[in-house]
């Protein structure tokens, strides 16, 4: 009984985290067609900004949205400086990988200079623990499990039910045609990046609430986000979201039976196998765009 509850809860929790971490990356990839390798750093920065605002005296429910909003601005800044000027170049994806890596390194070390290497913690979304189905869980984890689908649904609604979201989807599919319909492609790129950064910040706040934060905490989530996106099929946003939960459950099961140590290796092995069999990812359909 406990095993099932443990795995179920663990899977939901990890899945929600991964979904939150991956969706921003997927958004930028499907819209602009580049991989933002400072995505992990965005998460870290979001967490640190939240911590800073709390340290300045703001209550959490003010500090968190403030941090998220500020990160949206950072995302805009990043794409304006190290992504947009490169559009149209040969080998865009590769060059953007290196510029976003460099920018990420810059921000990471900047954080080190500003906040120092000692670990910090952001207050959790909700304090306290309860017992659910025989296992002890924290309210923070429950909050994450509940909030994530809500945010994802909001994103879906934005993309599929608003005019602006329609514009974003159009740009993802055909840039020239978008221009000829009068869309401001540059501004839409900026919007996509801003949203992605805000989502990353939220993921960072989730992470910071139950783990210790350090300036280098972004590396692992970046890798996980990449895995989720590729696993889920890089041509849509819903694919990675499904994949996030699948991987979350896979990890929960693996950790339970094989221990935390071997789980990453097993995950990679599973990933490689999947890609050999179904190179487009698990949940993909052909063509780029949003599903």
């Amino acid at each position: 009984m406990n095993t099932a509850a443990d795995i179920l809860f663990g899977g939901l929790f990890q899945g929600s985290l991964y979904a939150m971490m991956a969706v921003g990356l997927a958004l930028v990839w499907t819209t602009i067609g580049v991989f933002n390798f400072s995505h992990g750093v965005f998460m870290m920065l979001g967490a640190y900004l939240a911590w800073q605002f709390v340290a300045l005296g703001f209550p959490a429910y003010v500090a968190f949205p403030l941090a998220v909003a500020l990160m949206a601005g950072v995302g805009w800044l990043l794409q304006a400086t190290v992504v947009r000027p490169l559009i149209g170049r040969a080998n865009l994806v590769l060059v953007v990988v290196i510029t976003t890596l460099a920018a990420g390194s810059l921000i990471e070390n900047g954080a080190l200079v500003i906040w120092g290497p000692r670990s910090k913690q952001v207050p959790p979304l909700l304090e306290g623990n309860i017992t659910l189905g025989g296992i002890g869980v924290s309210l923070h984890q429950i909050a994450i499990i509940v909030i994530t689908p809500i945010i994802l649904a909001a994103l879906w609604a934005f993309l599929n039910r608003t005019r602006l979201g329609l514009a974003l989807r159009a740009v993802a599919q055909n840039e020239d045609a978008s221009r000829l319909v009068g869309l401001n492609v540059t501004a839409l790129y900026a919007l996509a990046f801003g949203i992605a950064a805000a989502l990353a910040a939220l993921a960072g706040i989730f992470l910071g609430g139950y783990r210790f934060m350090t300036p280098v905490m972004g590396a692992d989530p970046l890798l996980k986000a990449l895995i989720v996106v590729v696993f889920g099929g890089i041509s849509s946003i819903s694919g990675p979201i499904f994949a996030a939960y699948v991987i979350g459950f896979f990890e929960a099961i693996c950790s339970y039976y094989f221990g935390l140590y071997w789980t990453p290796a097993l995950l990679f092995a599973a990933l490689i196998l999947t890609l050999m069999v179904k190179p487009e990812g698990l949940f993909t359909r052909s063509g780029r765009g949003f599903a």
């Binding site: 040969a90 390194s105 070390n109 200079v113 890798l223 590729v230 990453p264 990679f268 490689i272 890609l275």
Partner: protein, 347 residues
Amino acid sequence: MTAANLADAKPSRPAASAIPVGPGRVPWQREAVAIVIGFAVLALLPFVFTDSYSRHVLIMVFIYAIVASNWDLSLGYGGVFNFGHIALFGIGVYAYSLLTKLAAMDPWLAMVASGVIAVIAAVAVTIPILRLKGIYIILVTFGFAQLVMQVILSQSDYTGGTQGIVRIPSLYVFDHNMVRDGKFAYFYIALALLAASTVFLRAFVRSRTGISIVALRDNEDYAVSRGISLVKQRLITLAASAFFTGVAGAFYAAYQRNASVEVFSMSLGTIILSMVLLGGTSTIYGAIIASFVLTVFSEAMADFGAWRPIITALLILVVMLAYPGGIVGMLNAAMAVFSRRGSAGRG
């Protein structure tokens, strides 16, 4: 774009291309002379830099240059988004360490063997990604690198886990005292390795195989329809890029005399990748030059603490934003201004 006329200039290509066309328009004799002269100059450096520290920096430059220029082969020429290259270096490090320490193999033999093992590993990585599209390759190769690191960490009985391996037997040159000559011997060994690697890479790039991988990179469907085997060429390219990388790793272990999983870290990988891109992909020499620039630069800032990576990152950003062709692109542009030859790209 056929393999046949790759060597000709393509005027319709936008000038700001990060990957220049073709493997080289300079006749090989002239290039050979340039290589000889270049390395002769490098060979004189220990007489200019007589202190141990400078020579150490130069040795690290050479090691990184080997890794970076070999990465240029699979990444730049082959167009394979191979993020596992750094793992080959690490494999070389650990292969050498284990062979010399546990199997008591002769260090020179172990160095060669490490290269071979790296090649085997490269072939093993290539098999899953033989037909994948670019982006997925990033992930699988990256995952492979992480996997190797995990395995090494977990087999701590042999590999020392997070502590690494120490007191690794080093190379020997007859009876020469390798320790007290101010790194003189190590310098020349490193230089010789770099020379061998560079000659090998340039020869490969000029060969028929080299041309065919560029053809595959630039227009896969067409190349395949002309009978070039994607699978075979990718395999050969990745294997070729692995040998000297593994050897460089072995040398690194022999030189530092200890090994740790640091060599698999993303930060080292990032630096080396920067050298490849900064130098300008598809040039081989670019990576070598960038290795000089970045390593020296980085060493000069050794005391700057966290500011060092910040300034390095800024340098990378500035160059990448301003010069799509990397450092080599910069040099070309400068040369064009001086010699009025127009923007004749070098291969």
